[in-house]
């Protein structure tokens, strides 16, 4: 067994994810299967291989760079309309700092 119930709970806490007991049990089994499968990567010798984070060829010119100019977005009203608890121009959340 590669992953315990405690491991799942620890990771769920890191990800701010509330899981039911049934979910913890079921995910533990699935993750165990998947991580065991992933172990096959240990067959591959990668000692002299660089990691590949993304495939975009490093731009030969500066085309990925742009001038840093301020552009008006004017979307505050629309953005707040979709928020669960807006108080323009803010998003309201439960108290974070105790008195």
């Amino acid at each position: 067994m590669k992953i315990s119930k405690e491991d799942v709970l620890k990771v769920a806490a890191l990800a701010n994810l509330e899981l039911s007991d049934a979910e913890v049990d079921s995910y533990r089994g699935h993750l165990d299967d998947i991580l065991t499968y992933i172990d096959k990567l240990n067959e591959v010798d990668t000692s002299n291989v660089e990691p590949l984070a993304q495939v975009v060829a490093a731009a030969e010119d500066d085309s990925a760079l742009r001038e840093d100019v301020v552009v008006r977005a004017d979307v505050i009203t629309e953005v707040l309309r979709g928020a669960p608890d807006p108080e323009a121009p803010y998003f309201r959340v439960p108290r974070v700092i105790e008195k």
Partner: protein
């Protein structure tokens, strides 16, 4: 005159030019069909008639005024629900974005509309594009129009089904590990995953940013080429979009395939492939040879490690990208006593099972003590897989494989075992990791009548080559094999 619902993009244009139909009438025709079919097939999550008719009226006015029409004038299109559309509900197939209306359009949507296309609505998909069957949508699965007790594939199942059921002329999908190509294959429509960086991701709600791409699902390969010429190209709002010039893809279709070298990777025809799929793909390769292609056997020795590398990298990126759904800025909130508890409850109840599973896996492979063993290892293996493609393209012009080892399966048949579901992505995740373009083109049906897809890979930014081969294949009767 054939029924408008079956028209290709050039046929729509011909009908408008000849004034056989107005854009408004065409849109109405599609919405009537959608009303009839959607209750059964569950393809559309939201419709946008106001915006569609306003755009149709603009096209009709342009026709009346005798103005030159843009490329996609009057063409009804459907947009996968992970792509932002200004003011139109965009949920990513998730409860956590229920009721969300983006304050802006994705670049691809903006470009389609600027070219005269008409947005009919948003298509159902696996939640946050995570899945291969559409069964992970919080709003219920899409049914495959070809065989309604079967899945349409995923995650762009709604987009593939919309085209297959004649509920839109074209659709945009997104592909991270196969999510355009596999549903295209399951529903029997051409489906192109462009090179990474070919189409702007601005407004695409992220799943795995180093893999995500937007591409077309269409009735014909020519239609895919036409849509690509509209949506491809550099966008200053996506720094990973490439400054590579965009050819007129449709103009390049007529070239002969004579002398093209097609690589057939032995590694893709091993265990696990359905015998009927293998037979159809073999027949497809024989057809390409008849069209003048030279078949060359190649090796892609790291293929066997692609699934493992993909599920490390994709879930790691997902765990980071999906951190933004916290019940503060959009979507419903499940209140807790503290802010942290609000996050936990909102996310715990807002996300579905597969998304939570991937967030947990992705967080695990990135967590202290495991980063090197999993995430870094996965990225190194990704290098080797990209190298397999690079080496292959030194010897061949294109690589031909099945799109999926199996045809569409029955709803519910494969949900019990997530790993088994992942393993069926083998032929598509390789190209995703390497960043190369791949198209799935219909290649006949199994004895049970289920579509089979042939996949054609080209080198990065070789969409023209891939489309050229797929078009010749289609025109030569590839789907009647």
């Amino acid at each position: 005159m054939s029924a408008p619902a079956t028209w290709t993009i050039p046929e729509v244009r011909a009908a408008l030019d000849a004034r056989r139909i107005s854009a408004r009438e065409l849109v109405k025709d599609f919405y009537t069909r959608i009303e009839q079919r959607n209750p059964e097939l569950n393809i559309f999550l939201a419709l946008s008639p106001e915006r569609a008719y306003a755009q149709a009226d603009k096209i009709d006015a342009a026709i009346a005024a005798g103005d030159a029409l843009p490329t996609l004038a009057g063409v009804p299109v459907a947009i996968k629900d992970v792509i932002s559309t200004h003011g139109i509900p965009t949920t990513c197939g998730s409860r956590i974005l229920q009721g969300y209306r983006p304050p802006y359009d994705a670049t691809a949507v903006e470009r389609l509309e600027r070219s005269g296309a008409i947005i009919l609505g948003k298509t159902n998909c696996d939640e946050f594009a995570m899945g291969s069957s559409n069964e992970n949508s919080a709003y219920g699965p899409v049914r495959n129009p070809v065989a309604p007790d079967h899945v349409p594939g995923g995650s762009s199942g709604g987009s593939a089904a919309a085209v297959a059921a004649n509920l839109s002329v074209a659709a945009l999908g997104t592909d991270t590990g196969g999510s355009i190509r596999q549903p295209g294959s399951f529903c029997g429509v051409p489906a192109l995953n462009p090179s990474y960086g070919r189409v702007s991701r601005y407004g695409l709600i992220a799943y795995a940013s180093s893999l995500d791409r937007i591409g077309p699902l269409t009735r014909t390969v020519r239609d895919a080429a036409i849509v690509m010429s509209v949506i491809a190209g550099r966008d200053p709002r996506d720094s990973t979009s490439a400054s590579v010039s965009v050819p007129d893809y449709a103009a390049g279709l007529k070239q002969s395939l004579h002398g093209l070298r097609i690589g057939i990777p032995d590694d893709y025809f091993g265990e696990g492939i359905d015998p009927e799929v293998r037979k159809k793909v073999e027949a497809g390769i024989a057809l390409l040879e008849k069209l003048g292609c030279r078949r060359i056997s190649i090796r892609m020795p790291n293929t066997d490690y692609a699934i493992a590398a993909y599920y490390i990298i994709a879930t790691a990126e997902a765990s980071s990208n999906l951190a933004r759904y916290d019940g503060v800025r959009y979507g419903p909130r499940v209140p807790g006593a503290t802010l942290i508890e609000t996050y936990q409850k909102t996310r715990g109840r807002g996300f579905g099972a597969e998304v939570k599973r991937r967030i947990v896996l992705g967080t695990y492979v990135l967590s202290a003590g495991y980063y090197d063993a999993y995430y870094l290892k996965g990225q190194k293996v990704r290098t080797l897989i990209a190298r397999d493609f690079r080496d292959a393209f030194q010897k061949v012009d294109a690589i031909v494989t099945p799109t999926s080892p199996v045809p569409a399966f029955r709803l519910g048949e494969r949900t019990a075992n997530p790993l088994q579901m992942y393993l069926a992505d083998i032929y598509t995740v390789t190209g995703s990791l390497a960043g190369v373009p791949g198209i799935s083109v219909p290649s006949g049906k199994t004895s049970a009548g289920l579509p089979v897809g042939l996949q054609i890979y080209g080198p990065a930014f070789g969409e023209d080559r891939v489309l050229q081969i797929a078009h010749a294949f289609e025109q030569a009767g590839g789907n009647d094999l």
